[in-house]
C-alpha cells in the first residue's frame, strides 16, 4: 500500500480545504513543498519545488508547515489498522505499508475482494492509496508506485515488464544511467546480459531485479506492537466490599507487574478504573514516589483510595493501567542502595497521594550567597538526596521568613525596636555582613539593593537576623536563629 499524499491527506482530513493545497518543509534553508494534493499537482506543481516558485505558479495555493513526526505517527496508526487484513504488516519507507497476505486473502473472499475492501475503506477515510499486489515485495512496490495492478502468481516479471526501471527501487543516478544506455523498461533490463550490468553498476542493481522477479528472497519484518501496560477483569457478579475490590486489584496487579517486569519497566502512575453495574465508572489514580513493579508494595497503597469508592449497586469490571512508566532495570538484591529506602519511598507515595506528590519536598544545596537561594526545594519523589556543600560563609538563621520591616534609622542596628508587637532591646549585634544582589537574576525582593545583615541578640533572649538597606534606607527582620 502506498500513500502518495500521506502528509496532505492527514492535514486535510482534519481541516478540509477547497483548492490547491500543499505542505511545506524547510530544507537547506529553503521552504520546499513536501506533499501536495491532486488539485495542486494539476496546476503543475511537484514535490521538492521551492515554495516561492510554487506561489508564482499558483497564487491561490494554500500551505501549511509539514510535521514529519505527526506523519510518522499517522503511518503507525495506519499500520495498526492494516493488521485487520493480515498479521504481518511492516513499514515501507516514510509513506507506505507492506503486508504479507499469504494465507489470509481467502478470508476476504480472494485477493481482488481484499484489495477492493482496502480501497473502499481508504476512500471513505479520505486518504488516497495506491495498491500493488505481487508475489514479491519488490514487484508489489513497483506496481503500487508505477501503475497499480495485480501481478498473477509466478509472472511478476511479466507484469513489471512495461514499467520504467525506476520501479525497481533503484537510486536516482542508477536509473538515469540505465536510461542513457537505452534500457528504459524492466523488460529491457531483464533481457540484457547480466555480467556487463554487474560490472557497470555493481551487485545492487541485479539484486533489486532478482528481488522483484522472486529469484532472490526478501523478508517482510512486521513491526511489533508497542507494549500496552493495561489489564482488565470482568466479573460475573458485581462486588461491593472493599476487600473484594482489593482482591481483584491484587490479581490485576500481579498480571500487570509481570508484564512490566518482562519489559524491565516500572510504573510511576497507575490508574484503576472501576465500572459499576449502572455504567458509571470511577477512577483511582495512584502516583508513586518511585518507579516500581512489586505488587506486594503497590497493593497496600491502593487501600485508602479503594475505601473511598462509592460502589453503588456493585462493580463488575476492573481495569488497571500503568499510565506513566519508566525504565526500571533488574537490580541485584541485598547490595546497593541504603536500607529502608523502599519503605521511605512507600511512605512518600502514601503522603503524596494525600497532599500531592509535589508537596513532599527535600532540600538540595545551591551555590548562592543569597540566603533564600542557598538551597533548592525539589519534590522528594523526583530527586535524590545530595550531600553537596552547603554555602554558609557566616551563621545563618534556622528560621527564614519574608522580610518584615521594623522602625529604625542609621547604619547601626537600632538599640530598641518593636517586632511582631514585641519590644526588644539589642544587647549585642554582630555584623555587618554585606550581601549584594545577584544582578544576573531578576528578583523583586532584592530591588532595594545591597543588604547589610546583622545578627542581633536581644536582652529578651531572641536572636534575630536583621538587615539594613543602605541604598534605600530601612530595617527589616528576615530570620531567627535557634
Amino acid at each position: 500500500m502506498w500513500f502518495p499524499r500521506l502528509g496532505s491527506d492527514r492535514v486535510l482530513r482534519a481541516r478540509p480545504v477547497e483548492g490547491p493545497f500543499a505542505l511545506t518543509l524547510k530544507q537547506n534553508n529553503a521552504e520546499r513543498l513536501s506533499c501536495l494534493n491532486a488539485l495542486a499537482e494539476g496546476q503543475g506543481l511537484h514535490r521538492g519545488m521551492a515554495y516561492a516558485d510554487a506561489r508564482a505558479f499558483c497564487p491561490d495555493l494554500i500551505t501549511r508547515p509539514a510535521d514529519p513526526a505527526q506523519e510518522a505517527r499517522f503511518l503507525h496508526a495506519l499500520r495498526r489498522w492494516a493488521t485487520r487484513y493480515c498479521p504481518w504488516v511492516g513499514l515501507e519507507g516514510a509513506d507506505g505499508l507492506v503486508l504479507d497476505i499469504t494465507g489470509s486473502a481467502h478470508l476476504w473472499g480472494g485477493e481482488g475482494e481484499m484489495l477492493a475492501d482496502m480501497r473502499a475503506r481508504m476512500a471513505r477515510t479520505g486518504v488516497s492509496v495506491r495498491l500493488g499486489l505481487a508475489d514479491t515485495r519488490g514487484a508489489a512496490w513497483a506496481l503500487a508506485r508505477h501503475g497499480e495492478g495485480v501481478a498473477p502468481p509466478g509472472a511478476a516479471l511479466a507484469a513489471l515488464g512495461p514499467l520504467p526501471v525506476a520501479a525497481l527501487r533503484l537510486e536516482q543516478a542508477t536509473s538515469v544511467a540505465l536510461q542513457r544506455l537505452g534500457l528504459r523498461t524492466v523488460a529491457d533490463l531483464a533481457a540484457a546480459p547480466r555480467a556487463p550490468l554487474a560490472r557497470r553498476f555493481g551487485p545492487g542493481l541485479l539484486l533489486r531485479l532478482d528481488q522483484a522477479s522472486g529469484a532472490q528472497a526478501e523478508e517482510i519484518s512486521p513491526l511489533a506492537d508497542p507494549p500496552h501496560f493495561g489489564v482488565r477483569m470482568a466479573l460475573p457478579d458485581p462486588i461491593g466490599l472493599a476487600d473484594d475490590v482489593m482482591a481483584g486489584t491484587e490479581r490485576l496487579l500481579s498480571r500487570l507487574c509481570a508484564r512490566l517486569k518482562a519489559h524491565e519497566m516500572g510504573a510511576r502512575v497507575l490508574c484503576l478504573t472501576l465500572r459499576r453495574v449502572d455504567q458509571g465508572s470511577q477512577q483511582l489514580e495512584l502516583r508513586l514516589a518511585s518507579a516500581m513493579r512489586d505488587p506486594h508494595r503497590i497493593l497496600p497503597l491502593f487501600r485508602r483510595g479503594v475505601e473511598g469508592i462509592e460502589a453503588g449497586f456493585g462493580i463488575d469490571q476492573l481495569r488497571l493501567e500503568a499510565v506513566q512508566i519508566e525504565p526500571l532495570p533488574m537490580q541485584q538484591l541485598g547490595h546497593g542502595g541504603p536500607p529502608g529506602q523502599d519503605g521511605l519511598d512507600d511512605l512518600v507515595t502514601r503522603i503524596g497521594n494525600r497532599i500531592g506528590l509535589e508537596n513532599v519536598l527535600r532540600f538540595l544545596p545551591a551555590d548562592s550567597h543569597i540566603p533564600e537561594r542557598a538551597f533548592l526545594i525539589a519534590p522528594a519523589a523526583y530527586s535524590a538526596p545530595e550531600n553537596g556543600p552547603w554555602v554558609a560563609p557566616r551563621p545563618r538563621p534556622l528560621r527564614l521568613f519574608p522580610p518584615e520591616p521594623i522602625a529604625g534609622s542609621g547604619a547601626r542596628p537600632p538599640k530598641h525596636f518593636r517586632w511582631r508587637r514585641m519590644a526588644f532591646a539589642a544587647a549585642r549585634a554582630t555584623g555587618p555582613e554585606r550581601i549584594a544582589p545577584e544582578w544576573w537574576l531578576e528578583d523583586d525582593n532584592w530591588r532595594s539593593g545591597v543588604r547589610d545583615y546583622w545578627q542581633v541578640e536581644t536582652l529578651q533572649g531572641r536572636r534575630l537576623w536583621l538587615y539594613y538597606t543602605p541604598q534605600n534606607p530601612g530595617w527589616f527582620v528576615q530570620g531567627e536563629f535557634a
Binding site: G343, I355, P397
Partner: protein, 193 residues
C-alpha cells in the same frame, strides 16, 4: 535538685512530645541531631516561615530532611499520623498553629506506638493536648559570652519529674552541653511540681 537532663533527653521513643515557645525550632533541631535516618517535617503550606537547611546543617545533615506541606492542620495531622504509623521515618516533626485536641493527640500517640517512631509537635504556647508524653517550653536566653544558650523547661511529663535546664548547642561537635543557669545556683529554679 532537678533531675538529670539525660533522663528526659533524648526524647522517649514511640511517644509524641510537644515543644512550644520561641526556641522550639532549635529544640527540634537538637532532637533531629540525636537520631539518624530521615526526618519528616510537616508544615502547613500557608506559613511563610520555613526551615533553613543551611542552618539546619549545624544540627544534622540537611539531606536527611524531608518537608511535607499540608493544606491545613487537619491534613498536617493526617500526614503525621500516616508517617508515625508507617515506621519508615524515625522522627516526625509537626508544626501546628491551632490547639491540638485530646483526640488528635491520642491518635498521634497510638500511631507512634504502632510504628515505633518519635513524634514532636511544635505548638503555640498553651495549645497542647493532654496526650503528649512531655511538653517543653524553650526560650533563647541572652548570655554575654555565648550566643547559642537556650532555656529548656520541662513543663509536662507523664512519667517523671519536671525541670529546667540551660543548654547550649555546640555546632562544631553537634553536641548539647548543659550549662548552669546564668546568675543562679545550679538547680535553684527547677523544683519539681
Amino acid at each position: 535538685m532537678p533531675a538529670d537532663l539525660s533522663a528526659h533527653f533524648p526524647l522517649r521513643k514511640s511517644r509524641v512530645h510537644e515543644a512550644c515557645g520561641p526556641g522550639a525550632p532549635g529544640f527540634a533541631g537538637a532532637v533531629c541531631a540525636q537520631g539518624s535516618g530521615p526526618v519528616l517535617w510537616v508544615v502547613e503550606a500557608w506559613r511563610h516561615e520555613q526551615v533553613n537547611p543551611v542552618a539546619f546543617g549545624a544540627f544534622a545533615d540537611p539531606a536527611r530532611l524531608l518537608v511535607a506541606r499540608a493544606g491545613d492542620q487537619r491534613e498536617a495531622l493526617a500526614v503525621a499520623e500516616v508517617a508515625l504509623g508507617d515506621g519508615a521515618v524515625p522522627l516526625v516533626i509537626v508544626e501546628l498553629g491551632a490547639p491540638l485536641s485530646l483526640k488528635a493527640g491520642r491518635r498521634l500517640q497510638l500511631a507512634a506506638k504502632s510504628g515505633g517512631t518519635t513524634g514532636l509537635c511544635l505548638i503555640p504556647e498553651g495549645m497542647g493536648s493532654n496526650a503528649a508524653e512531655t511538653r517543653w517550653h524553650c526560650t533563647p536566653v541572652f548570655d554575654a559570652s555565648d550566643s547559642t544558650r537556650m532555656r529548656w523547661e520541662l513543663i509536662k511529663n507523664k512519667s517523671g519529674t519536671l525541670g529546667v535546664w540551660d543548654v547550649r548547642w555546640d555546632a562544631a561537635a553537634r553536641r548539647l552541653d548543659v550549662v548552669p543557669p546564668a546568675g543562679k545556683r545550679p538547680g535553684s529554679q527547677g523544683a519539681p511540681g
